[in-house]
């Protein structure tokens, strides 16, 4: 049954709902695949075989009783980023400070997945508290890129992206604060979507930067991402920043796009996200993709967004500022790690010792940056200025969307770099999110779709497609059209060119689980 793991979510759902294959068989095939390849990939921090099989069994029972499936994706397995709370299942955010914590509640995203009959296989690796672009900042060791185990899978959602590329799961959930869904999608040759801010509930998403964080779907095809988007999206009264409006019609848009016609669609190429500083193979793949869009009937124009140049700087003030406050709660008083509670230390000392031992260097760096940026006397110069930049970037977007329907750029300046290459150079690491950050700052929608391999290293390149607030369907339409054309030109989906991974025979799921 190994071929079950090569199918798309839509195909799997079709077979399960037609009762050609059981959800349990599908779940087991993926659990077996995880057991076989995860020692080499390390996409998962926790595999919940028992919970997954129980969920799959429930779907099978529903179908056997002649009742309709709970959703179009009922029975399909999924890998959940370890930043969403799962009741009774470990949630670490890639940090030692949450080691052993069993949340007493489900995130809204988790709840909606369960209600939709989606089978959650486990929790995926990530940069600690979603801070990073390589998953090297995980306290539990790095995830490897299935395209090349010496390369990073992107970050912070490297685990979710690698799980897709390693065929451990056909669907995954990520979160995107500055590119943590799109950049891993780009460097693993998978699809990653950051919905409009407020489009997917943040309730139960452990916050890094509240005004930027956005959960979203990850998949190997545009349609699968759209199907998942409709499951997790929509208003949630528990999240005050959630938008009270229907989910944009992304599935319909993906199906429309797959017909292959983009006539009448105006595509803007962002001039600031092109040229110098980009890997040549990335640029050539990107330019070829733009030509492809033109060939599909789109009208392509160049658009300038001058303030995007300040995006990275503004981001590295706003995100650390918010994180310095969001992460203050990890103080050893109520949950998680507790260091030095031996009767000789005061509560304040226990807090300090715990935070010293529990947070990794990148998290500490950002907490210090943010604490400084919010300090009396510095607020206006740093946080205040950054918020103004944010407004200017939003205006650039607004002006651009007067002229075009979607904007495009490369998702990342380079393909996947080597593990260890940038760990000592935070600024070089931060540049990985150069192209993705503007959409977070403005709060509008953006996604990455695979656009070929770079000629110099044979690694995947991502095409970023951006759309206005709550116009997520526009980018799905363009992405789906592009995907069909690219697959036709390449003679099949790019993802099927991932090299075969070394399988570990005879190791059970339990041993893989942390």
């Amino acid at each position: 049954m190994a071929d079950l793991t090569r199918l798309t979510a839509a195909e799997l759902a079709g077979r399960i709902h037609a009762r050609e294959v059981s959800a349990v068989e599908v779940a087991q095939a993926h659990l077996d695949r995880i057991a076989a390849v995860d020692p080499a990939v390390h996409a998962f921090l926790h595999v919940d075989a028992e919970g997954a099989l129980a969920a799959a069994r429930a779907v099978d029972e529903t179908l056997a009783a002649g009742r309709p499936p709970a959703s179009p994706l009922a029975g399909v397995p999924l890998a959940l980023k370890d930043v969403f709370t799962t009741e009774g299942v470990p949630t670490t955010c890639g940090s030692k400070i949450l080691d052993g914590w069993l949340p007493p509640y489900d995130a809204t995203v988790t709840r909606r997945l369960k209600q939709a009959g989606i089978v959650v296989l486990g929790k995926t690796n990530m940069d600690e508290f979603a801070m990073g672009s390589s998953t090297e900042n995980s306290a539990y060791g790095p995830t490897r890129n299935p395209w090349n185990p010496e390369r990073i899978p992107g970050g912070s959602g490297g685990g979710s992206a690698a799980a897709l590329a390693a065929f451990q799961a056909p669907l995954a959930i990520g979160t995107d604060t500055g590119g943590s869904i799109r950049q891993p999608g780009a460097v693993t040759g998978t699809v990653g979507v950051k919905p409009t801010y407020g489009g997917v509930s943040r309730y139960g998403l452990v916050a890094f930067s509240s005004s930027l964080d956005q959960g979203g779907p990850c998949a190997r095809t545009v349609l699968d991402a759209a199907l998942l988007h409709e499951v997790i999206g929509g208003h949630d009264p528990l999240d005050s920043t959630s938008i009270d409006a229907p989910v944009p019609p992304v599935v319909a848009a993906a199906r429309q796009g797959a017909a292959g016609d983009l006539s009448g669609v105006r595509v803007g190429v962002v001039t600031e996200l092109d040229g110098e500083g980009y890997q040549p193979g990335v640029l050539s793949a990107f330019h070829a993709a733009v030509e492809q869009l033109r060939a599909l009937g789109a009208e392509v124009v160049k658009v300038s967004c001058p303030h995007f140049d300040y995006g990275l700087s503004a981001y590295y003030l706003i995100a650390p500022s918010e994180c310095s406050s969001n992460l203050a709660r990890f103080d050893a008083m109520r949950y998680g790690l507790r260091e030095g509670d031996d009767g000789t230390h005061s509560a304040e000392e226990v807090m300090t010792l715990t935070r010293e031992a529990g947070f990794g260097p990148e998290v500490k760096r950002r907490i210090m940056l943010g604490t400084y940026a919010l300090s009396a006397g510095y607020y206006d110069a740093y946080y205040g200025q950054a918020q103004k930049v944010r407004t200017l970037i939003a205006r650039d977007f607004a002006a651009a969307y007067e002229k075009v329907d979607v904007l495009v750029s490369p998702t990342t300046p380079t393909t996947a770099f080597r593990i260890g290459e940038k760990v000592d150079d935070p600024l070089a690491m931060y540049r990985s999110d150069l192209c993705t950050i503007p959409a977070n700052l403005a709060g509008n929608a953006a996604m990455s779709v695979p656009c070929g391999l770079a000629e110099e290293d044979g690694l995947p390149v991502g095409l970023q497609i951006m759309a206005p607030t709550m116009q997520d369907h526009r980018m799905y339409r363009v992405a789906a059209a592009y995907e069909v054309a690219r697959d036709a030109a390449e003679g099949g989906p790019l993802i099927h060119r991932v090299p075969e991974l070394p399988a570990t025979v005879g190791r059970g799921v339990e041993e893989v689980a942390r």
């Binding site: 309730y203 005050s240 920043t241 500022s321 709660r329």
Partner: protein, 501 residues
């Protein structure tokens, strides 16, 4: 510095210095649920039973604003003559403390919901002092720490601490005055009168229990002195743990005398938080504030701004009750009370109760007498607020009616009230159950009178001989025989009739 610092005589203090006050009052709103989650907002539950992921600050949890709390905040702002913001936001106040689940308090900073108002405060002698209101803003309460094992109950020296998060997230309104200047020797009195007026106002608005003893109304008193005639404010101290109206007055007075002594000795006031001790009436230094705490305020990104529509604000304005002092004035005129009588009534917390009793048909004088004397004593004995006694104004009115009708004597009426307070039912039910009706049947009384006269022939002889005063002894005997249920006046008449035959 010791807790019992040198004090300057108050008369000298006001001779040499002008006090400047700033009062910060925290009010816990009596909403059904907490500020940002659906947990119950009730005092006195088992520790850590009214909690959820949000008020425990669990990872991933998010706040949702309580609409009723916003409504209360706006009504308070309007009652304090404030401008209600067209648009306001919450902000995070960042500092670490174990009883604060998120290690930041969701509060309001530079964009409060209500600003720039005033409260006119009536002093003992009827003088009116206008206290400026700087702002009123919304925030959440913290949890409670119980420090075990130390001598003081404070964190220093404690063996361990217990944390109760039931209070975490309870809606608070913080009301901050503008600097109160020009009160001079009346500063302590103004402080007390302000907090009293605020309490009465909040009670009339029905937004809070305003129980200082339970912490639902808390006052921090900022005090500084400047040399008489100066306009430059001196260094201030902030006194906390001021848990009663009387303490507000005492704390301000103590700080004025203490600071004056320090300044007169040529020393400087240390900017600090001070702790008021009810037992000694003195303040002692707490946390030093010289290195001003940096709370790193920034707008709360988990909440959206609040923009109350003008229609809503105006609609809320129509829900404002009659202001307490206007209410008092009206009652005084209607019921023809002297200033002293009004003061007693207000101090007993009986004004509304009397009004409701009058409304239920009792004469104002009778209604007032019941609440201010007998029922006030009962409340005192039982250790409850007058309003919390288990008797309604309607029931008091019924007792008054029964007395007026002659069904009860005053003495019997008190027994009926006792029965109601003891849960034996309404007044009529108690009369019935206890058999407390006045014996007005003359034949029953006559039998008792005859019996008493027969038992005391010498007294009967004296009465017959014209010594009418001697009838008292027979009255007493009859009353005793009827267990006090006879109308003494009627008994006396019957005795005299019998002896005249």
């Amino acid at each position: 510095m010791t807790a019992t610092a040198e004090l300057m005589d108050f008369a000298d203090v006001v001779e040499r210095f002008d006090p400047v006050l700033g009062l910060e009052v925290h009010v816990e709103l009596s909403t059904a649920t907490k500020m940002f989650c659906g947990c119950a907002n009730a005092f006195g539950a088992e520790p850590n039973t009214q909690v959820c992921p949000t008020c425990l600050g669990l990872p991933g949890s998010l706040p949702v604003v309580n609409g009723t709390a916003v409504e209360s905040a706006i009504r308070i702002g309007l009652a304090l003559n404030c401008e209600i913001a067209q648009w306001c936001r919450f902000a995070r106040k960042n500092y670490f403390y174990p009883d604060m689940p998120k290690n930041f308090q969701t509060s309001q900073y530079d964009e409060p919901i209500a600003v720039n108002g005033h409260l006119d405060v009536v002093l003992e002698d009827g003088a009116v002092f206008r206290v400026g209101i700087e702002r009123a803003h919304m925030e959440e309460d913290t949890g409670k720490s119980l420090h075990v094992g130390g001598a003081t109950g404070r964190i220093r020296g404690a063996e361990h601490s217990l944390l109760d998060y039931n209070r975490a997230g309870v809606p608070l309104i913080e009301i901050v005055t503008k600097p109160i200047v020009g009160a001079g020797e009346r500063a302590p009195e103004v402080a007390r009168a302000y907090v009293t007026a605020l309490r009465d106002l909040l009670r009339a608005l029905r937004v809070s229990d305003v129980r200082m003893d339970q912490g639902s109304l808390r006052c921090d008193a900022n005090v500084s002195l400047m040399p008489t005639g100066s306009t430059e404010f001196g260094t201030r101290t902030e006194t906390k743990n001021v848990n009663s109206l009387r303490s507000v007055e005492r704390a301000v007075r103590y700080e004025m005398c203490r600071q004056a002594a320090v300044l007169a000795a040529g020393e400087k006031i240390v900017q600090e938080t001070r702790h008021f001790d009810e037992a000694t009436g003195s303040t002692s230094p707490g946390r030093r504030k010289e290195t001003a705490e940096d709370y790193r305020y920034f707008p709360e990104p988990d909440l959206v701004p609040i923009a109350p529509s003008r229609e809503w604000v105006e609609q809320l304005r129509t829900t404002l009750p009659e202001l307490p002092w206007e209410r008092r004035k009206r009652a005084q005129e209607q019921w023809g009370l002297s200033d002293a009588e009004l003061r007693d009534l207000v101090n007993a917390g009986a004004l509304e109760l009397v009004a409701e009793t009058v409304e239920a048909g009792a004469a104002p004088g009778e209604a007032r007498s019941w609440w201010v004397s007998y029922l006030a004593q009962q409340a005192n004995t039982r250790g409850v607020e007058l309003a919390d006694l288990p008797i309604t104004p309607e029931q008091v009115a019924r007792v008054v009616t029964l007395v007026a009708e002659g069904t009860l004597t005053n003495k019997l009426a008190r027994q009926v009230v006792d029965g109601v307070l003891d849960g034996e039912g309404g007044p009529d039910e108690v009369v019935e159950k206890r058999g407390l009706k006045v014996v007005s049947d003359d034949s029953a009384l006559l039998a008792a009178v005859d019996e008493a006269l027969a038992a005391n022939p010498d007294v009967a002889e004296k009465i017959r001989g014209g010594k009418v005063a001697a009838a008292g002894a027979i009255v007493g005997a009859v009353m005793k025989a009827t267990k006090g249920q006879a109308d003494a006046k009627r008994v006396r008449e019957l005795i005299l009739e019998r002896c005249a035959q």
